[in-house]
Symmetry: C2
């Protein structure tokens, strides 16, 4: 899935080239490319499908030239993850009714990749033999308030449990309690299931969405598919897979895992995982002369030189035509800023 | 005179295009062009001579295409204002031994231009009939500590006095005393005199410099002039006209004046004279969305959008490949920053 607009990282992430397409870690590969490189070790390249917004179709092909154009399912409208995943499931099931699938965001950071691959292989083994919706739960390493949590229920075996509850971003005290109990895991947003299982789950839990795709049953995998989607996909309600299915279904399982995972959801998250220089600043693709300044993240392209005095714990993000200077503690205001920029200046700076 | 490098305004002012060549006030004309536009109302265009560093020769011709190339005297080395003015005086005297001249920096802001022109015309009348070195003294409007002061002595008439003392940048208490007495005026660095008078003053007060130019007496105004200057100008001591002549000569007069004048010597000076938006920020050629931010000066080109939160009394100067974020109160550190940039990265960012 790589259709998001990444507005929390504006202006470094822009509507024309959002977060997943950016070489966010300075490795020479974008987050999307890193995700592809990871998944292709398990899923044959020809079986990888990219769900994205129609406006990013060319960008995906540019970044992943090994894909055939037909492997990109370009959504005609933004409808969050549930309709996106439904389309993918119907598309895959038309090709192989017995297919299993992994669903993964394209803009997360994953380290300890061998452990990730082991977990995914084990997850495929699990869902291939069960009518199960499996989510990967990450063993928490800190009382993070920015993540969703999964509480484990009945044990299947050491690494697999039924899901008892989902909890959206908890407050600090609750997050600390979660950690203490040992029953709570971070909700990674990475899912495994048989295509048939998620199609059935849509029918049971999200009949509105299910009905849209059922009416097109015969068209998936045929030349008529794109026309059908163009006409009907925009009619889907915009809702996440968590709300539409995972929190409602009763066959939801979690595989607990300890590979390194960060959803790179905020500047602070990026700051936390990035290497700091000797005075505690993070410099993304730029050079910094810092005086009495620490705790900052500088996201500035093209080897620009940043000279900064008396600035602490700020985000400084320069995108050429937009410069953002904002305390890390106020990063939740960025979405409002994007909106204000739109209200004042139209689409020019989005 | 337009040979300075403007390092106090780095990185907005760069060694390749320093302050005097920048449209600093967003008027469509650079400070040099504004100075030319002002002076050409009194001095015929063909009598205007531009003293600059050799590296800015092309830039001057580009900005002032009405000049003949011979009107640009390009210094082969930076030697401060005294050798610069000596060359100009010898050059002018060779053309007309009786010539009067006005010497003016090219990077100051002057308002109430008609009053300026009246003062200059009156100044020319004064020096044409006297062996006088005349400086313009500006009636101070605040106890500015960033300027030099001139104390007036014997009165010639209401607007002309002998100069009693020069005082470099005073501290606050002294500046306040200066204002109270009514005897002190800001030293504008704008001078009027006959070419012959300043040549004599060099002979009396700065014999080292005088000797250099006397050896070339016959060459000024001939094709041999540039060759002579290339060989001998770099041998001059680097010293300001104030130290070399004005503070030593005994025929120094001041014409007091009340046109608007600002040497634009610091970011704070620029902030002070610039129009503020409704929350007290100054935006130079850029658009600003400010949240909880006031007292800042944003000097950023090309209609860039600046989004800033929680920043007060800062300089934000973006020059494309360099971004400076520095409290206005620390602007005296900028020269050190330029030096650090040079030490760390060579000439790339100067």
């Amino acid at each position: 899935m790589c259709g998001g607009i990444g507005s929390r990282f504006w202006p470094y992430s822009r509507s024309q080239r959002p977060k997943q397409f950016i070489d966010f870690l300075g490795t020479g590969r974008s987050l999307l490319q890193m995700t592809f490189d990871r998944i292709v070790q398990i899923v044959p390249a020809e079986n990888i499908i990219i769900l994205t917004n129609n406006s990013y179709r060319e960008l995906v092909l540019e970044q992943l030239p090994q894909l055939a154009p037909a492997q990109i399912l370009a959504e005609p409208a933004r409808r969050n993850t549930a309709p996106c995943i439904a389309w993918a499931a119907y598309h895959i099931a038309a090709r192989d009714p017995e297919a299993s699938m992994i669903v993964t965001p394209s803009d997360h950071l994953i380290t300890r990749e061998n452990e990730f691959l082991r977990i995914v292989r084990q997850g495929f083994d699990f869902v291939e033999n069960r009518d199960a919706l499996l989510t990967l739960g990450i063993t928490p390493t800190r009382p993070e308030t920015g993540y969703g949590y999964i509480q484990i229920g009945d044990e299947i075996n050491a690494e697999f449990h039924k899901v008892k509850t989902f909890t959206e971003k908890p407050d600090r005290a609750l997050a600390e309690t979660f950690i203490r109990t040992g029953e709570f895991f971070w909700n990674s947003g990475i899912f495994l299931w048989k295509a048939s299982a998620i199609i059935q789950a849509f029918a049971d839990c999200a009949p509105d969405i299910s009905r849209v795709f059922q009416t097109g049953k015969g068209v998936f995998g045929t030349p008529a598919e794109l026309y059908f989607v163009a006409r009907n996909f925009p009619g889907c309600v915009s809702i996440s897979i968590d709300y539409a299915v995972m929190e409602r279904a009763n066959n939801v399982y979690v595989e607990t895992a300890s590979f390194g995972w960060n959803d790179l959801g905020t500047w602070s998250a990026l700051y936390d995982i990035s290497p700091k220089n000797n005075v505690g600043n993070v410099a993304q693709q730029c050079r910094v002369l810092a005086y009495n300044s620490t705790g900052n993240i500088f996201a500035v392209k093209d080897d620009k030189l940043i000279v900064v005095d008396g600035l602490n714990d700020y985000i400084v993000a320069d995108a050429g035509d937009v410069l953002l200077i904002c305390p890390k503690a106020n990063e939740q205001k960025i979405k409002q800023m994007v909106n204000d920029a739109k209200v004042n200046f139209g689409d020019k700076y989005l």
